[in-house]
Subunit: 212 residues, 2 copies
């Protein structure tokens, strides 16, 4: 009925090492070229393995892709999960922006992987978006709404605020080529991210701080 599935009971040492290498290589290749633009051969080359060997660990190209997405999703959402309802709104939201920007700087491939997936209609993670992700956003939007109700930040639509923050922070990863081209490469990346953080945090937080 079913094939003897590579990991029958426990992952062996070699399996662990190779799966890790494959997922890392797949992330690099998929994020750089998109799903259709990536080839198994290229991932194999990058992972230092042969193509049939990759297909020994994962049954198909789709399987690589799905595995990489799953592997990266949790990490990607952690900053939002960490938004603390008990904290100070300005500190929490500022910290969230900083954390997302930092992630865009250190792990741009992950951002680009999702960007490409969603840009093309999220064929692989559509249900995830409408399910767990929506749930998380609803949850955190409620937190923000509570802050508004307490008069601690100005009254704006919390879910669109979250969209704004995603948009701005991920922009620096997804469209890095454009950012570099437009800003000039005279500014080192680290410096550029500092400027970005200062600007984004200044505008958004000042836009949220209530007038008295």
């Amino acid at each position: 009925m079913n094939k003897p599935e590579p990991p029958p009971k426990q992952a062996t040492r070699i399996q662990k090492k190779n799966r890790r290498a494959i997922l890392e290589a797949a992330l690099q290749v998929f994020s750089a070229h998109g799903f259709r633009g990536s080839t198994i051969d290229r991932i194999a080359e990058r992972a230092g393995l042969s193509k049939p060997n990759l297909l020994y660990y994962f049954p198909s190209k789709d399987a690589f892709y799905l595995a990489v997405l799953e592997d990266t999703l949790e990490e990607w959402l952690r900053p939002l999960r960490d938004l603390d309802p008990a904290g100070d709104p300005i500190v929490e939201i500022g910290g969230y922006i900083a954390a997302k920007l930092e992630m865009s700087r250190t792990r741009p491939e992950a951002s680009r992987l999702f960007a490409n997936e969603i840009l093309h209609g999220a064929p692989a993670i559509g249900e995830f978006l409408a399910g767990p992700l929506k749930a998380l956003v609803d949850d955190k939007a409620a937190v923000i709404a509570a802050w508004i109700a307490e008069g601690r930040i100005r009254a704006i639509d919390p879910r669109h605020l979250i969209m704004m923050i995603w948009a701005v922070t991920q922009h620096y990863a997804d469209f890095n080529v454009q950012v570099e081209a437009v800003l000039g490469d005279d500014a080192a990346p680290a410096r550029r991210f500092k400027e970005a953080r200062a600007t984004v945090i200044a505008v958004v937080l000042e836009g949220l701080r209530p007038r008295h």
Copy 2:
């Protein structure tokens, strides 16, 4: 030496009609599937022509792609060009945000076409970004810097402000699937864009307005 290039002197009636149909079809297909994910056959089908017929009008797949990009670029940048140095900063920037959001709503394919191109390193329009686009941004950043110098808006990095506005407005086109999934499809698109505009304009403009 060179092939007899389809348009020898003047574009004929049929040429005009078919070129237009091809570019429109190519925009739809390229923006939906990316360059690698698109096939000439698919563009042909959408344009109501045969594949060899498409290749009679453009010499290669790259040529379609380049033509569509060029065809769309000017329109895409117009709102920024229209930013008026003589106007009121809050009105001008608010208007710019509204115009970009409106464009994301009415022409999301154009936005996704560029998003995909830039996401993958802007192989086709790299020099454009570093040339004319940078020049335009530098120009408008100077306008904003002047407003800051006059104390009419708060002191933030003008070029990162432009990045922010691009990021937020284009997000609603590029990642529309995610926005819909997360916000729930109960809200009609038109309504969603109104909410987005209200939120973005409120946060950004309030973040820019000088304190007294």
